[in-house]
C-alpha cells in the first residue's frame, strides 16, 4: 500500500512539476541501491574515462606507427636540486607515490565521514589537498625542465642520438629531433590529467571548508565527501595508466 501511494505521489509530482523536499543531494529514489548523486558521479567518471581513452588510442597508434620512440629512462632522468644527476624515473615515482597517498587520505576522510567524525574528515581531506598540491608542483617542475630541454608540443629534441648517449646541456646543442608527436602527446595527456588534479584540488578545498563549517554535519551525512572522493580516486586511477604509457613502456 505504501508503495502504491509512493508511485501516485511521484506521478502527481511529475504532472505538477513540483520538486520533492530536497536534502541538497538529489532525488530520494535510488538505482542499484546507491544514491542518485553517487550513481551520476560514476557515470560522469565513465564518460571522462572515454576522453582519456581517446588520448590513449592516439598515443598507441602514433607510437607504434613510429620506427623509434624516445627512451623514458633518458627523457625522465632528472631530479630537482640534483643538477645533472642521472636518476631515471626517480622523480615520477615520488609523484606517483604522493598521488596514491593523497587518494588514501581521501578514503580515510570518507570512512571518518561514516562515523560522523567532523574533525577526522577535515584532517584527512587536508592531507588529500596537500598531496594534490605537491603533485601539481612536481608536474610544474617537470614541465619547466622538459621545456628548457627543448620539448615543445610541435618539436621533440629527444631524437635517436639522445638515447641515453649524450647530455642535452643547452637548447642550442640540439641533436637530431625525434618523433614530433611525443611532445604533443606528452603535454596533451599529462596536461589534461594535471587539469583534472587541479579541479580535484579545488573541489577538495571546497569540501574541506564545507566540512569545517559543519555543513555535512548538519545535513546528517558525509555523502558529498564520498562523491568528491570518487573524482579524486579517478584522477589517481588515470595516473596509473599515464605512468605506464609514458614513463614505463
Amino acid at each position: 500500500m505504501a508503495e502504491v501511494l509512493d508511485i501516485q505521489e511521484q506521478q502527481t509530482e511529475l504532472h505538477n512539476h513540483v520538486p520533492t523536499p530536497d536534502n541538497g543531494e538529489g532525488g530520494e529514489k535510488t538505482v542499484f541501491g546507491i544514491s542518485y548523486g553517487k550513481t551520476m558521479m560514476w557515470y560522469f567518471l565513465l564518460s571522462d574515462a572515454f576522453t582519456f581513452s581517446a588520448f590513449l588510442f592516439s598515443y598507441a597508434a602514433i607510437r607504434l606507427g613510429q620506427p623509434w620512440w624516445p627512451n623514458p629512462n633518458y627523457v625522465f632522468k632528472s631530479f630537482p636540486f640534483m643538477g645533472e644527476a642521472n636518476v631515471p624515473l626517480g622523480f615520477v615515482s615520488v609523484m606517483t607515490f604522493v598521488l596514491i597517498l593523497s587518494s588514501v587520505a581521501v578514503v580515510r576522510a570518507v570512512q571518518e565521514g561514516h562515523r560522523m567524525n567532523q574533525k577526522g574528515v577535515a584532517l584527512w581531506m587536508l592531507g588529500g589537498i596537500l598531496g594534490g598540491l605537491f603533485f601539481l608542483g612536481c608536474q610544474a617542475w617537470e614541465w619547466t625542465h622538459l621545456i628548457q630541454e627543448g620539448l615543445r608540443p610541435f618539436y621533440n629534441p629527444f631524437g635517436p642520438d639522445a638515447n641515453g648517449l649524450t647530455h642535452l646541456v643547452h637548447e642550442k646543442m640540439l641533436l637530431s629531433p625525434g618523433p614530433v608527436a611525443f611532445g604533443a602527446l606528452f603535454f596533451g595527456i599529462t596536461g589534461f590529467h594535471g587539469f583534472h588534479v587541479f579541479t580535484g584540488v579545488c573541489i577538495n578545498v571546497w569540501a574541506f571548508f564545507s566540512t569545517l563549517n559543519g555543513k555535512f554535519q548538519r545535513r546528517g551525512h558525509y555523502e558529498m565527501i564520498e562523491k568528491v572522493g570518487l573524482y579524486w580516486h579517478f584522477v589517481d586511477l588515470v595516473w596509473v595508466f599515464v605512468f605506464m604509457a609514458f614513463y614505463l613502456m
Binding site: 580515510r108 570518487l230 605506464m244
Partner: protein
C-alpha cells in the same frame, strides 16, 4: 563508540582494508620502477610490456575496488562500467595493431 552509520568493528576492518590496499599499491609501484631499471633493459620488449600492463591493471583493481568501493556495490552496477571499458580496451588493442601496421608500411625493414 560508534557515532555514525558504522559499527566499531566495521570501521576497524574498513580501515585495515584500506591500509592493506595502500601497501599493495606501493609495493607494485616500486616493483614496476625497479623492474624498469633492471630487467626492463634485458628481457624482450613484449614480456616487459606485458608485465607493466598486468601490474597497472592490478593497481587499477585495488583503486576502483577498494578506494572507490566498487567491489561492494551491486553486480549490475559493476557490469555497467566493466562492459564499456572492455570495448575501450579492445579499441586500444586494435589501434595498437593498426599503428604497428603503419610502421611496417612507412618504414619497411
Amino acid at each position: 563508540m560508534a557515532a555514525g552509520h558504522m559499527s566499531d568493528e566495521q570501521y576497524k576492518s574498513a580501515v585495515s582494508a584500506v591500509w592493506r590496499a595502500t601497501i599493495i599499491l606501493a609495493v607494485v609501484t616500486v616493483g614496476e620502477v625497479i623492474f624498469a631499471l633492471t630487467l626492463g633493459h634485458m628481457l624482450p620488449k613484449i614480456l616487459v610490456n606485458t608485465f607493466y600492463v598486468i601490474a597497472s591493471f592490478s593497481k587499477a583493481f585495488f583503486i576502483v575496488g577498494e578506494f572507490m568501493h566498487l567491489k561492494y556495490e551491486k553486480r549490475a552496477f559493476i557490469l555497467s562500467f566493466a562492459v564499456p571499458i572492455m570495448f575501450l580496451l579492445w579499441a586500444i588493442i586494435a589501434l595498437a595493431i593498426e599503428g604497428n601496421y603503419w610502421n611496417h608500411l612507412n618504414f619497411p625493414k
